[in-house]
Amino acid sequence: MAVAGAVDLREVEEFLYREAMLLDEKRWQEWLALYTEDCFYWVPSVVGQKDPVNTVSLYAEERMRMEMRVIRITHPRAFSQDFPTRMSHLLGNVMLDPDGAQADGGMSPKADLVVRSSVHILEFRKEEQRLFGGTQRHWLRRVGGEWKIAMKRIDLLNCDAPMEVVQLFL
């Protein structure tokens, strides 16, 4: 699977669509199961951010913090989710990104391929809908005949905009 030519892109697409569905449906445990133990979830705060160290990031989470976030948003006392946030992800332009390693921010995830896609995320809570969007990259690793996400980076169009809080995963 390490050779781009041998990759079944349809299978990779299906995998990304499944991730989007699990996020939309808040099937958090199944979503977490898509990620490797040593995964990293990164949403930079500036355009073209070089690394998650010399610039602050909106999200810079290893698996532990991802799991903590899931526990929080599903906890009965998470009153900020009394009115639960709803999300809808739309993916497109899915393509292999042979130069994707340059975008890994020095994290060097162990991965067999990097997939790049465009994403539009509708978020609704209380009375208003927000739109996030941009380019995302998944670093995928073949584990036991399945794809796992070793790292995900989302470059939001509005990463440096003033924004209200974001509670779920993008």
Partner: protein
């Protein structure tokens, strides 16, 4: 409605305040004029404009300003307005220029704000235009002063100097800077700009409100506790994200034992909530760097200062032990932007700095697992206060039990002293007509 001084004063009683303070747009307009137009307002840190020509665009209240470093190294705070027809000169947030150039008719300004040139000067011969009049440049705000690298400005010609204004509260800025082995800070790239739908003062009140963490933050406290229970052996030290969330769940008795201090100029701080000394290898390496720079005794003295939030009224809060600065930018009576900056302690180990970043993400990012619950509470205060149920908001906890303490008033950790104190200051500004 129009507010005269007596009416304004009647909105603040010793231990309760009138709800219109949070919801009336007319009072918000007066605050912009009488508080943000007079007090020392935090603008930025000198490391944001390291080299000549560097600038950042921000605001003082709602006034657009630019902080720039001039060719001679001096830092200026200028109104972001062209002296010709008034266009906002600087259109982005930061950058470096040889000079500022207005996009409209091409007037140019030096980085100290003075008029450099305009196209076809001959058209002005014999007119009243006086190119030496600062009004035709980018005007400097009336006063700018720096305390240990932090730049403050005042839109008023009059008032106390910055050190007098900060008073003893400036020891919290000292605390932040002294923790660097080189005695200097550097801003980290990027900035969190978080917007909430509530009045700016609600954030200031929350900072030293110790009766909220165990209620508001229960979900993030539990997230850490549950994770630790599922993954770590009993008694194992908390990983940092849990360390930064767990304390909010401590019982009331813990918070009561903290000290609160409130300054006549509206400032306040609360004692530290995290154990100030850690024993992990990263912290030990940091202590070694400190001792090398300052010696054992002075290091001990620096690290023994233990404060959590310090507020400099009306627009900035320091978390000196975690190198975080939160800046308030009021947008409307029910809308506020908070800019959050993280700092690197110069000379501290890189790994130590990574802890600062973890704190930023866990606590102060818009995507933090802690702050959304604060903001939900602020927003609900704003929504709830629209109700006509009662005109009064209670600030009665431990009222009448404040102690005189030098320049300060002090109280037990669960007192609402800091809020009551902020309103003393609020009345002082707001009843003083121009």
């Amino acid at each position: 409605m129009r507010y005269d001084a007596a009416t304004i004063a009647s909105l603040v009683e010793p231990d309760r305040i009138h709800r219109s303070i949070y919801v009336d747009p007319a009072l918000f307009e007066l605050e912009m004029e009488r508080i943000f137009g007079r007090a020392w307002i935090y603008v930025g840190h000198e490391s944001q404009v390291k080299s000549p020509g560097d600038y950042i665009a921000t605001s003082i209240g709602r006034q657009p300003v630019v902080m720039s470093r001039h060719a001679d190294g001096k830092i200026h705070v200028l109104f972001n307005r062209c002296g010709h027809r008034g266009a906002k000169v600087v259109g982005n947030r930061e950058g470096n220029v040889k000079f500022f150039r207005c996009c409209y008719h091409g007037w140019t300004f030096k980085t100290d704000g003075s008029l450099l040139a305009m196209p076809v000067r001959s058209g002005y011969e014999g007119t009243s235009l006086d190119t030496s009049d600062p009004r035709y440049g980018m005007m400097k705000v009336p006063r700018v002063e720096t305390y240990r690298g932090f730049v403050f400005a005042s839109l008023s010609e009059e008032g106390p100097d910055l050190e007098t204004y900060l008073g003893d509260a400036r020891s919290s800025i000292d605390d932040m800077v002294d923790r660097s082995p080189e005695g200097a800070l550097e801003v980290v790239g990027g900035c969190f700009r978080v917007v909430f739908r509530a009045n700016w003062k609600i954030f200031l009140e929350n900072l030293n409100d110790t009766m909220h963490p165990m209620v508001v933050h229960e979900s993030s406290v539990k997230a850490g506790e549950i994770w630790a229970k599922e993954h770590l052996p009993e008694g194992a030290p908390d990983p940092l994200p849990i360390r930064f969330t767990r304390n909010n769940g401590f019982p009331y008795a813990f918070w009561e034992k903290l000290t609160l201090k409130a300054h006549p100029n509206g400032h306040s701080f609360m004692g530290g909530i995290f154990p100030p000394r850690r024993t992990d290898p990263v912290f030990l390496e940091y202590i070694a760097a400190m001792e090398k720079a300052y010696g054992k005794e002075r290091t001990e003295e620096i690290l023994s200062v233990d404060r959590h939030n310090t507020i400099f009224y009306p627009n900035v809060s320091f978390q000196s032990g975690y190198q975080q600065v939160r800046v308030i930018r009021p947008l409307a009576v029910d809308r506020t932007q908070m800019d959050v900056y993280a700092f690197r302690l110069k000379g501290a180990p890189d790994e130590f700095y990574k802890h600062t970043l973890i704190y930023s993400n866990v606590v102060n990012a818009p995507s933090s697992i802690v702050m959304p619950d604060d903001h939900e509470a602020y927003n609900r205060v704003q929504e709830g206060l629209v109700a006509q149920a009662s005109d009064w908001v209670s600030l009665q906890r431990d009222a009448g039990r404040d102690r005189e303490d030098g320049e300060w008033k002090s109280a037990i950790g669960t007192s609402e002293l800091p809020m009551r104190n902020q309103y003393h200051t609020w009345v002082r500004y707001m009843t003083q007509e121009a």
